[in-house]
Amino acid sequence: MMRDHRVRILSNAPETLTYWRLRVRLSETIAIRPGQFVMARTREQWEPIWRRALVIYRAEEHAEGMDLEFLYKVLGRGTALLSRQRPGDELEMLGPLGNGFPHDADPDAEALLISGGIGLPALYLLAEALARDGRAVRLFHGEPTVEPERPLPFLDDFARVLEPEAITLATEDGSRGFPGLVTEAVEAYLERTRPGRAVLYACGPTPMLRRVAEIAAQRRLPAYVSLEARMACGFGVCLGCAVKTQFASEHMPHYRRVCAEGPIFRAEEVIWDEL
């Protein structure tokens, strides 16, 4: 159940030039679906006024409760403030929120996980759940560029639950892995292997998600995308995060809330021109 959890920071440090890893301890265990998020703020925070949405990257139960991990990029005032919090400091985390990925969409299909940039953390728990079910899982992750020789620790996390050869890194400048957009890497894979059944799960920038939706439509594959939107509350009341979708409900034929009905939507439901 959704609650405002007071959590203690175990560690909070930069992992690469752009990604920070935050690890916190809850004094209880909570049920989390892959792709769900929390709304986080520091204690007694007045500025910035909104909490920040953080997708739950990893979760680990233990005798004292549960540790949660988050990956984030320092992009603005909220994440800058978060990056200044030290081990021992407390955070307030409202959650878990949102619908989460359906990981039993098609049990016999290959699962293709597709992420761009900071979309990656939304996919770890899904990869773990699918692998636990014995499903065929591949991860395609795209970055604009990756420093040569620098480790990418978060891809090592995925390598512990997926076969190393099931992970494809794509860089737009060709500095490492597949040279080009991550969606081009996915297309090349689909072209090469022509899997009869596959389900696409994606999180990343909107142009990437839109391309994933097109690829899925062309090849008649189901696809689930995790959308992002500005959120004041994260639990369904501010209506700030509404996105236009195909038929939503009798009262509200179009708009759905990313925080409540989402953040995961079927790709064909999203009206991409109106995002």
């Binding site: 909104w50 500005r230 004041a232 009341v237 700030g240 509200m252 109106e274």
Partner: protein, 309 residues
């Protein structure tokens, strides 16, 4: 010694002066998993229109220093769905349900009120004549004292419950509008709605909201709201419910001292769903610590420097 937190507005007794503001509290039920809604003085519902409204295209909100701009566009399920699907559950809670009402024209306000008149479990109507984000939000009524008075009078004539008129800070002279609607029969006033604002993306050189401008809320607007509530309470005899950037018990106390009979908590509900409950608890503590036996003794107790008043 426990403090009496109750206040009276338009013949209604509120167990405490803390209400939640329209548009920030959904239809109330969204918060029922957080706390017993019966602990609140009252709940102002999301603005209700005759037909469902889809609202404005995104992006609809943007964070600013000490606040936020919104241009939701009065998205709501419509008055009939509210009565059929939300009210039966909502009225189970021991608190006042205040239905926030708006229309795109005179007749629509009246029709919404007629439908609500037949529903059980509503204590009062709050007329939204002040949404800055949609034409249908009644802004043309809110800006013009004569129009505001005409609407108030017409609503008052058919309403079976007290009418609270929610005033806009974007009116040329909010005090004139306040006086006009009081004269027209309003039972109480609430002030202020959001302040029209703008935020610009310097890279695209476009507004950060799809509709261009939006309503500013949050702690940033509190001093303006407080000043307006002070001015209004000195110009009218009917009670005024203070709204505008209230985030702490100290904020709520400032409004009461400045003259508000009660307050509404708005934007704070977003980042802390328990904000209103924390403020109620804070009021009790403050009264106990300062030997205040009734919260009513604070209302309008501001000692303004006379030369500056």
């Amino acid at each position: 010694m426990s403090c009496d937190l109750s206040v009276e507005i338009a013949g209604l007794r509120f167990k405490n002066p803390i209400l939640t503001a329209s548009g920030t509290f959904g239809y109330g039920l969204e918060f029922a998993s957080w706390f017993d809604l019966g602990r609140l003085g009252g709940i102002c519902t999301k603005g209700l229109s005759l037909e469902p409204l889809e609202g404005n295209p995104p992006p609809r909100i943007v964070e600013t220093h000490g606040g936020m701009l919104n241009s939701i566009g009065l998205q709501n399920i419509g008055v009939r769905a509210f009565v059929a699907e939300k009210l039966p559950q909502l009225r189970q809670f021991q608190t006042h349900i205040i239905a926030n009402v708006f229309g795109s024209c005179f007749e629509e306000y009246l029709e919404v009120i007629r439908i609500l008149n037949d529903a059980e479990g509503i204590s009062a109507y709050e007329l939204n004549i002040s949404c800055p984000n949609v034409k249908a939000g009644g802004m043309e009524f809110g800006n013009d004292p004569d129009e505001a008075a005409r609407l108030t009078e017409a609503c008052k004539r058919i309403a079976r419950r007290p009418i609270i008129v929610k005033l806009s800070p974007n009116a040329g002279d909010i005090v004139r509008v306040a006086r006009a609607v009081e004269e027209a029969g309003a039972d109480a006033l609430s002030a202020i709605n959001t302040i029209l604002g703008l935020s610009v993306d310097i890279y695209t050189r476009r507004p950060r909201l799809a509709t261009g401008m939006g309503g500013l809320s949050g702690p940033a607007i509190k001093p303006i709201a407080l000043r307006m509530v002070y001015q209004i309470t000195h110009a009218v005899r009917i009670p005024v419910i203070g709204i505008g950037g209230i985030a702490t018990v100290e904020d709520a106390l400032e409004f009461l001292i400045a003259g508000a009979t009660a307050v509404q908590i708005g934007t704070a509900n977003y980042y802390d769903p328990l904000a209103s409950i924390k403020i109620i608890e804070g009021l009790k503590r403050f009264c106990e610590q300062h030997g205040i036996t009734t919260i009513r003794s604070l209302i309008g107790s501001l000692q303004m420097n006379e030369r500056l008043a």
